[in-house]
Every structure is written in structure tokens, then in C-alpha cells.
């Protein structure tokens, strides 16, 4: 792309479309919409329009790259999640795996490539410093559009703004700026002006007003848009003021050829070509991040998996006996006679934050659906909210959209399903650097999370009440399951205060060390169980328990196996998790003196401790 000089924005656009293989009628249509809007150029015959409007090559590049910027932010945050999960794994080879249905090609991103792409995007975005103003600069720019007796007057001691002549702009200004967290609907284009210089200057102003800009509030944006529409036709001095303002804002002087090379690089990144998937993954990243640093990100065979069939992404322990889980594409029944959308008997929102037991829709705390529309689809969005709210009868249901949203979506929910209105919400302009939307999202996650102090299962509370430790000197663990896998085995490990260890399993059913005893009652090899392990300790001992899928004809994950633990009057019930990471189901560890129970409830490829006899 860089070898041939490109003399006009129209030619540059044609080159971008050709080199990047943009599909403007489908996948990349929204990109064109955003560009057309920010440059004030009609999208029909966009290349010709760019030249007719006198848009420069640099302006087009800057506008185009500002659309890339949010994706750089997404990559950065996904990379942080990657790095965090990697730090807990063996090394650098962690991957993100996208496993779609038949209609779409699966693919994987690996950590090293991800870092390279993130650097490429950052490098490109960093070239477009032209739109980065300081806070005071922005207020100075805003002030250019505030002129006594032209944009405002004082009436009865109050500041009253004049309305612009354009009906569409007046409607846009009339929106409630504080509604939802989504901000305003797409901005009107820059006003037309007789002078080419003023048109170019206003396009630069609109560049600052883009959704990616985080230096202006919605009220500031409205003031500028209102002022521009009022002044463009009436204020001869506007051109001079804008000219003087922009003259002192340094325009980054970037060699077009360098920018084009970088652009070429970015547009051919797999991450850019799969940006729709990237958005959804980024939303998941925000959800996990909102749970805090203690959330454990799960990986299977060195990959974080986003599967069409459902993936268990992360777990946060909120008490010794209670976890919350982040699932992507978790499928659950839709028990309503008449779904609003095209969904049928089952629903599969992008993310579910769930308590336990998993798969029980009533345990869902938060459902998150991601949309990547530039303009909201009121019907489509509200239908999704209603179906998901009905399918998850106690959860808060949140729809996040890349573009803006308005309260009309939840207004429609109130019309068609008033019973779920209070549990549904939308957040628009949900993307990097949009603090308001991001804060609202975090607030919602915090709101639905169980209190970490009060989340303990009541039956287990005697085990770990702070400052009131009770010895857990005797207890039983009973494993039951279905017909398949045929042979599951309980394993128990014991270590006393002097470091002496023992292991109980089907091949060694009794272990006794200085009065500490573990005993397994049976080895059931043809399904169902039960197998019961009892322990009795005298003094300090650490116990660890797990179940092993010996026959292995189907995964232990999701097989319906259950464990019931009785310690004194406390009872804990576990069900085999759905995430399949191996043949071991790690259950919990117990400190018999402090009564502290550390719940694991995960499947792993290896035993929690050495298995010397098997």
C-alpha cells in the first residue's frame, strides 16, 4: 500500500477497502457508518464524497484509526487476563480458543501473537495524537461555541440556550442525557458551511467529539453540537476562532506512508478480522475483572476456552462452601410458552454469573448479553432481555452494546413483560475508555454478588466462624453417581502435625497414624455407589479428598456424581462440576483443628496429592 503515493482521501478509501478486503455490505458496514458520521460524508459513494467534501488523506486516516482505538483497548485488557491466567499456569503458551458452531470457523489466539498484535495496534493508535487534548484545551474548544446572544442569553437570571434550526439536531439535543448509561444516540454530522475551511475545521472538532474521546462529558458534547449548528450559519468569527485554536494544537506530523504501512498491518491482523468475537471476549474479561483479583480463570489444556457449547471461564470463592462461576454460552431451558425472540426451548446468553448449583437457572445472579450494534435494535434488544429474564427467573439481565442505547429498550420490556422490568437493564457505549458505562457495569456486578461474609452455607457455618474455630474431628464423605462412569473411587489423604502421611483408596481402605484414622467402606465398580469414607482425628491433621474416574468411559465432569459431607451437624453437598479438565474431581481440604474447609470442586488431570498405590 505504501509503495504508491495516494493523493486523495477517496483513493485512500478505495485502497483500504481493497487491501483489507472490507465487506461494507455486511461485516464492515458499521465501520462505514461510523466513518461517514464522524466525517460528515454521505456513505453512498463514500470515496467520491470524501473528495467532494475536501476531506484530506490525514483526516480520513485519523478518523479510521480512531475507530481502531477501542479494539486496541480491548486487546490490552484481554491480554491482561491472559497474563493473569498464565501466571497461574506453566508458562507462555496459553491460548484463547474460540470453538463455534458449524457455521463459523474455529480459531485460537496465542499469548505471544496476542502481545504482537496489541503492540501493532498501540503503535498505530499512538500515531493519531492529533485528537488528544488536555482537559483545559477541551474547555477552551467548548468555549468557542458559547457566544452571548448567539448561543445563549440570560433570562430572569438564568442561562438559556438557543436551539439550532435543524429539527433532527433539536431532537438529538432533546434526549435525556442522563438516561441509562448509554449516553446519546449517534451524533448528527458536522453542520454544513459555505466555507471549505470551516467545514474542515468542524470536521476536526467532530473528531474530538467521537465516542472514543473521554475528555468531554455528554453535556459538553451537546453544547458544542448546539453551538456549531447555531453558529455555522451566523457567526462570521467562528472560522477565525477555530483556526486560532487548532493552530496551537500540534497536529501530529506522521508520514502518510508510515501510517499506511501500519494500517495495512493492523487491517490484516486476525484480531481485527475477528473483532466481533473480540468484543464478546472483552466483555467477559470485564465481567471477570469485576469479580476482583481473587477470581480464578480456568484453562483447559493450556487454553482459555470460549465454546459455543458452553465454557466455565472463572470461579470466585465467596465462602468456604459457596462459589460464583462465570460461564460463557451456558445453555439453560426457556420455560416460557412463547419466547419473544427467535430463541426456542433453550437460551444461551453470552455470559452467566451463577451461584450454585450450576445449571439451575434460579442460581443465576447476572446474565450478560453482548451486542455490537452502532444503533440499538429496540425490538431485538428488548426481546433478548425478556427471554433471558424469564429463563433466569431471579437474575439481573444486562444487555451491553458497543453503540449507544436509550431507555426505550427497557420501556418496551416494561410494556411486554412488566414482571421482569426491574431485573433488566442496558448499558450503551460499552467499550474501553468509556468510564461511565464501565463503572455502571462494575456497579451492577457488585450489586448482584453475594456478600462474602454472609455467603456461607448455613449448614457449614460451624466449620469456619471466625474466632470460633471448632475441631472437625469426625466426619463422613459419601459419593454417589449414576450408571456411567461405572467406576468412581474416593481418595483421602492425611497428614499429621509431624508430617507423617497416609492415603486411603480402593486399594488401601484403612489408614491409621497415631490415632488419626481414615477408612473407606467399599469399592463400587458398577455404577451408582455409594462409597463412604469416614475419618476420626485426635490432634492436628490435614485431610484432602478427591474422587477419581477409574473406568473413564465418560468424563466425570457433568456426570451428575454427588458428594455429601457430614461433619458434626454441618452438611455440605457438591455436584461434579461441568468443566472437564481431567479424570480427578478435587473436592476439598480440611484442617481438623481450625475446622477450616477449603473448597476446590474442580476437575483436574492429576491427583491433588501423590497417589502411591495406584
Amino acid at each position: 500500500m505504501s509503495s504508491e503515493p495516494i493523493g486523495s482521501a477517496g483513493k485512500l478509501w478505495s485502497a483500504i477497502v481493497e487491501r483489507a478486503g472490507l465487506n461494507l455490505k455486511l461485516y464492515d458496514g458499521q465501520l462505514l457508518d461510523e466513518l461517514a458520521e464522524s466525517l460528515g460524508v454521505p456513505k453512498d459513494d463514500f470515496a467520491g464524497g470524501l473528495d467532494r467534501e475536501g476531506v484530506s488523506v490525514e483526516e480520513l486516516l485519523a478518523s479510521f484509526l480512531s475507530l481502531v482505538e477501542p479494539y486496541a483497548g480491548m486487546l490490552r485488557e484481554i491480554l491482561a487476563l491472559f497474563t493473569r491466567a498464565s501466571a497461574r499456569s506453566s508458562g507462555e503458551n496459553l491460548r484463547i480458543r474460540f470453538d463455534f458452531d458449524e457455521a463459523r470457523r474455529n480459531f485460537e489466539l496465542d499469548l505471544r501473537n496476542f502481545r504482537d498484535w496489541e503492540r501493532s495496534l498501540e503503535a498505530v493508535v499512538g500515531l493519531v495524537e492529533v485528537y488528544r487534548f488536555g482537559e483545559l484545551d477541551v474547555y477552551e474548544l467548548r468555549h468557542i461555541f458559547v457566544v452571548p446572544d448567539l448561543t445563549y442569553r440570560i433570562e430572569h437570571g438564568r442561562w438559556v440556550e438557543f436551539e439550532p434550526p435543524d429539527d433532527g439536531v433539536r431532537d438529538w439535543l432533546a434526549q435525556d442525557v442522563h438516561e441509562a448509561a448509554g449516553g446519546l444516540s449517534p451524533m448528527p454530522p458536522p453542520p454544513s458551511a459555505a466555507s471549505e475551511e470551516l467545514r474542515a475545521l468542524l470536521r476536526r472538532v467532530w473528531g474530538v467529539l467521537r465516542p472514543e474521546s473521554d475528555v468531554l462529558t455528554a453535556d459538553d458534547v451537546r453544547t458544542i453540537v448546539r453551538g456549531a449548528y447555531v453558529l455555522a450559519q451566523t457567526d462570521a468569527d467562528l472560522t477565525r476562532r477555530l483556526r486560532e485554536f487548532f493552530v496551537r494544537i500540534p497536529l501530529t506530523e506522521v508520514e502518510t506512508s508510515i501510517l499506511l504501512d501500519r494500517l495495512d498491518e493492523v487491517l490484516n491482523l486476525p484480531a481485527w478480522k475477528r473483532r466481533e468475537d473480540l468484543y464478546s471476549v472483552w466483555v467477559g474479561t470485564r465481567l471477570i475483572a469485576a469479580l476482583g483479583a481473587e477470581a480464578r480463570v480456568h484453562q483447559v489444556d493450556g487454553a482459555i476456552s470460549f465454546s459455543f457449547r458452553g465454557s466455565h471461564l472463572a470461579t470466585l470463592s465467596v465462602s468456604p462452601s459457596a462459589n460464583v462461576h462465570v460461564w460463557s454460552e451456558l445453555q439453560t431451558p426457556l420455560t416460557t410458552a412463547k419466547p419473544m425472540g427467535k430463541r426456542k426451548a433453550r437460551i444461551k446468553p453470552d455470559y452467566v454469573l451463577s451461584g450454585e448449583p450450576l445449571m439451575n437457572p434460579s442460581a443465576s445472579l447476572l446474565v450478560v448479553e453482548c451486542k455490537q450494534y452502532l444503533q440499538q435494535g429496540k425490538r431485538n434488544f428488548s426481546n433478548a432481555l425478556v427471554d433471558y429474564a424469564r429463563g433466569h427467573p431471579t437474575a439481573t439481565v444486562l444487555l451491553v452494546n458497543y453503540g449507544p442505547t436509550t431507555s426505550t429498550v427497557v420501556d418496551r420490556v416494561a410494556e411486554i413483560a412488566p414482571e421482569v422490568r426491574d431485573r433488566t437493564c442496558v448499558i450503551g457505549k460499552f467499550r474501553p475508555r468509556h468510564g461511565l458505562a464501565l463503572d455502571e457495569f462494575e456497579r451492577l456486578v457488585r450489586e448482584v454478588m453475594p456478600s462474602r461474609e454472609s455467603a456461607a452455607v448455613p449448614a457449614l457455618s460451624p466449620l469456619r466462624r471466625e474466632g470460633e474455630a471448632q475441631p472437625a474431628t469426625e466426619g463422613t464423605l459419601t459419593l454417589t453417581w449414576g450408571a456411567s462412569p461405572q467406576d468412581l473411587d474416593i481418595h483421602g489423604w492425611l497428614e499429621d502435625s509431624k508430617g507423617r502421611t497416609g492415603h486411603v483408596s480402593y486399594s488401601n481402605r484403612i489408614c491409621e497414624i497415631e490415632g488419626n484414622r481414615l477408612e473407606l467402606d467399599a469399592d463400587v465398580t458398577e455404577g451408582y455407589g455409594p462409597e463412604t469414607l469416614r475419618w476420626a482425628t485426635h490432634g492436628s491433621a490435614a485431610l484432602v479428598f478427591a474422587a477419581h474416574n477409574f473406568s473413564g468411559e465418560q468424563p466425570i465432569a457433568g456426570c451428575g456424581a454427588r458428594v455429601e459431607v457430614l461433619i458434626g451437624s454441618s452438611k455440605l453437598e457438591l455436584e461434579a462440576p461441568n468443566e472437564d479438565a481431567g479424570r480427578w474431581w478435587q473436592l476439598f481440604a480440611l484442617d481438623t483443628i481450625s475446622g477450616t474447609l477449603s473448597l476446590r470442586n474442580v476437575t483436574t488431570p492429576s491427583a491433588p496429592k501423590e497417589v502411591e498405590n495406584d
Partner: protein, 150 residues
């Protein structure tokens, strides 16, 4: 925040105000405005009364366009304070109002506080001449509000 807290703030703010008064370089004013904005926001926690007085000082010594940016930034910063109250400065309320008027930030004046404070502020602005930069434009702003039926 430690750097901005406590007794260091008033001294640093006064020093910057003095430098702006002494300088005739608009770029230096701009740079000093950027430096003083966070200090002025922190000043609220030290002494709202003095902070309001200093806000008026900056509205005087900067031309309207620069005063607009600085005052707006500071006032919006003050409004983020949990204990923000336009009456927190006591008898310095007219300083706060003058700063808003002279920097063309009257849209930030909160009602009904503004109805109460505006009459004596306008009385001061219309009857007592004080040296300030960009005087004609600032006078016009005062008259615009006066004519607007305050």
C-alpha cells in the same frame, strides 16, 4: 494527593497567581493554568472561603477564554467533593459568583443559590472597578447578566 494536601496548597496557588499577573505571555498563562487547576480543586479541602477568593483572582488575571477553562475545570472538580456546597465559602460567595460571571461560566451557577448571591455580586461588579485582563469582554458579560433580569 499527599503532595496537594494541607498548607502547601495556598502558598503554591498564590505563587502561581503572582506569576500569571507578572507575565504577559499567553502560553505561560496557559501552562500555569494547567498547573494550578488541581491545586485549586484541592484548595477546597483546605479552606473553601479562600479557595473562592482565589478563583476570583484567577478570573481577573486571565483573559476570558483561559479563565473559562480554568474556572470550569476547578468548579466541576469542587462539585465532585462529597461536602461540596456553594455556601461553604460563607461571605466569599460573591467571589465565587464573580468568577463564574467573568469567566463566562454562569451556566454553572446553581439555583436558588444564584438568586441570592447575584444581586450583591452585580452591585460589586457594576460599581467597583478593579484592574483585570480582558476588561471589556468581562464588563460585557456582567452587563449581559444584569440586562437578563437578575
Amino acid at each position: 494527593m499527599t503532595e496537594l494536601a494541607g498548607e502547601a496548597v495556598p502558598g503554591r496557588v498564590s505563587a502561581i497567581a503572582a506569576r500569571i499577573r507578572e507575565s504577559e505571555d499567553i502560553e505561560e498563562w496557559r501552562k500555569l493554568s494547567v498547573d494550578v487547576a488541581p491545586l485549586m480543586i484541592a484548595y477546597w479541602d483546605v479552606h473553601p472561603h479562600s479557595a473562592m477568593e482565589m478563583l476570583e483572582v484567577f478570573a481577573h488575571c486571565l483573559p476570558v477564554d483561559l479563565a473559562h477553562s480554568l474556572v470550569r475545570s476547578v468548579v466541576l472538580g469542587w462539585r465532585e467533593k462529597p461536602k461540596y456546597d456553594p455556601d461553604a465559602g460563607g461571605t466569599a460567595d460573591h467571589c465565587y459568583m464573580s468568577a463564574l460571571i467573568l469567566s463566562e461560566n454562569y451556566d454553572l451557577a446553581e439555583h436558588p443559590w444564584a438568586e441570592r448571591v447575584l444581586p450583591h455580586t452585580l452591585d460589586k461588579e457594576l460599581n467597583y472597578e478593579r484592574p483585570m485582563r480582558d476588561t471589556d469582554r468581562k464588563r460585557a458579560l456582567v452587563h449581559c447578566i444584569h440586562a437578563g433580569g437578575a
